[in-house]
């Protein structure tokens, strides 16, 4: 059985000032198996983030439904952990307190929390920074904390909305390896939205390519590269072949975006 089922989910935004309603997302169907790492690749504005937010329950679909373990999603919940592109650590909490946030909301005792928090601090390599405020951390460290915060809650599925989009190239590469390493060890179902082709291939067991707005699924590419993956994989011939294929796919869509949108 699929872990996550997206059935005919679409999203239409009401028109601005009596204008035509805007279709952001055409009906999308997607089945995600347990422990799959799926990246959703698409040009900006294609509705991929909207799709992820619908899965998270932060937005309601105009049509269709989302099922997690057979249960319909109606509102956000701790079973779908999310990492955002913007830095969303709670600035009034330390790194350790941020990671413990979900556990505390669940009413877990402090003693029990401490052990879990320590293990996730370790997992994302932030030992020694437990008592720092978020503003004292670099962007990469903040996103590592955000990943630890989402994982500490032990969600059924991890949703990531361009989590490394604001980071510089080198940091982004390291973060990809870190997240992939965690996934290889811990087996988690992951839905990862990105517009970066290399990132999409490197991380995924399956890449879903979306069309330009209004978005729908254009292709569904299985990535059979072996694990554990090392960054040198990005220069291998197999990787380059996949990259060439997806670049072609996404280029057509990016062109359409540029041509159809007013300057």
């Amino acid at each position: 059985m699929s872990k996550l089922l997206i059935e005919g989910v679409s999203r239409t935004f009401a028109g601005v000032r009596g204008g035509e309603p805007v279709k952001a997302l055409m009906p999308v169907d997607l089945a995600v198996a347990a422990n799959d790492f799926i990246t959703i690749l698409g040009p900006s504005g294609c509705g991929k983030s909207t799709l992820l937010r619908i899965v998270a329950g932060l937005e309601a679909p105009s049509e269709g439904r989302v099922l997690l373990d057979g249960k319909a999603v109606t509102r956000p919940g701790p079973d779908r952990g999310m990492v955002f592109q913007s830095y969303t650590l709670f600035p009034w909490l330390t790194v350790a307190q941020n990671i413990a946030f979900g556990l505390r909301e669940r009413g877990m005792a402090e003693k029990e929390r401490d052990g879990i928090v320590a293990s996730y601090v370790d997992l994302v390599g932030l030992k020694g920074f437990e008592n720092h405020w978020p503003k004292q951390l670099s962007g990469g460290m903040q996103q590592r904390t955000a990943i630890a915060r989402a994982l500490a809650n032990d969600p059924e599925i991890l949703l990531l909305d361009e989590p490394f989009g604001a980071l510089d190239n080198q940091t982004r590469g390291l973060m990809q390896e870190l997240l992939l390493g965690i996934w290889e060890r811990r087996n988690k179902t992951v839905l990862f939205v990105t517009h970066d082709i290399e990132e999409a291939i490197f991380m995924a067991s399956r890449v879903i390519v979306m069309t330009a707005r209004p978005g729908r699924i254009k292709s569904d590419v299985a990535i059979d590269l072996p694990h554990p993956r090392h960054y040198t994989l990005k220069t291998s011939p197999e990787f380059s072949a996949l990259k060439a294929r997806l670049t072609e796919d996404i280029r057509v869509e990016a062109m359409r975006t540029v041509q159809t949108q007013p300057a």
Partner: protein, 257 residues
């Protein structure tokens, strides 16, 4: 001079102090130099002499203490009512829709115009003074806090929901801590305004306090005492503001740039 170019801390201090020096020098020149009538404006030296006499012989420090108590009492009363209401208005839109029009209207009612009514209702005792400050502060605090709370970062709220927060959890563990420094800043600002209300309240129908001393001095043309009273208010305001700022910094180390 290059626009927006920062000034070094040393020069900043020197410049700041030199204006005070110039100001007092000008004041001394027009008064001691005989350019204005002594009846209308006392010179700096007799102001200090009058002030010293006030403190030593007339027990003016008791008036100062009474005024301080009134400011903080009235301000505390207003805060206790206004902060929860402001948070509720910012967090829950139906509450805002219910209260916002009235509060916006009430905010423009001048506190000083309420003094005659408040004297009728509460006499000229302490309660009336507290109420003047309360009326002057409470609506301002409510509105400013409601606006700040209403603009809480939505991404933090969304993150908390995906971590399992309930609606009440969002209010008490996201909205309130996220806005706490801004709320404290608002209170610091309004405390400054409370100082003006207390003096007005003491100018009318009072038998103690700094404002009472000032109005009392007017009838005796003791301009030195009046100026001393005004300077005392300024100094206490400055000190309390400074203390409040330091307290906020200590309370919210995470919000410092």
């Amino acid at each position: 001079m290059r626009p927006l170019y920062p000034v070094s801390p040393g020069i900043r201090t020197v410049l700041g102090i030199s204006f005070f020096v110039l100001f007092v020098a000008f004041w001394a020149w027009i008064t001691l130099g005989g350019h204005v009538n002594r009846i209308f404006l006392a010179d700096p030296l007799s102001m200090l002499r009058d002030g010293w006499r006030l403190l030593v012989e007339d027990r003016f420090w008791l008036d100062i203490l009474i005024t301080i108590w009134r400011v903080f009492g009235g301000f505390l009363l207003a805060s206790v009512v206004a902060v929860p209401l402001g948070i509720a208005m910012g967090a829950w839109k139906p509450v805002e829709a219910f209260l916002e029009p009235f509060v916006s209207f009430a905010r423009y009612l001048p506190a000083s115009a309420f003094i005659p009514l408040l004297i009728l209702w509460a006499g000229i005792g302490e309660l009336e003074k507290l109420l003047v400050i309360f009326v002057g502060s409470v609506f301002q605090i409510i509105l400013i806090i409601a606006v700040k709370v209403g603009s809480t970062r939505r991404d933090l709220v969304e993150a908390a929901y995906t971590l399992g927060s309930t609606n009440n959890g969002i209010v008490s563990r996201v909205i309130m801590p996220a806005n706490a420094p801004e709320i404290a800043e608002t209170l610091r600002l309004v405390l400054g305004w409370a100082w003006t209300y207390v003096i007005v309240a003491e100018l009318i129908g009072s038998s103690s306090g700094i404002g009472y001393m000032i109005i009392n001095s007017q009838s005796r043309l003791a301009t030195g005492q009046i100026i001393f009273g005004i300077i005392v208010i300024g100094l206490i305001g400055l000190l309390s503001d400074f203390a409040f700022k330091a307290f906020n910094r200590w309370l919210f180390p995470w919000s410092l740039a």
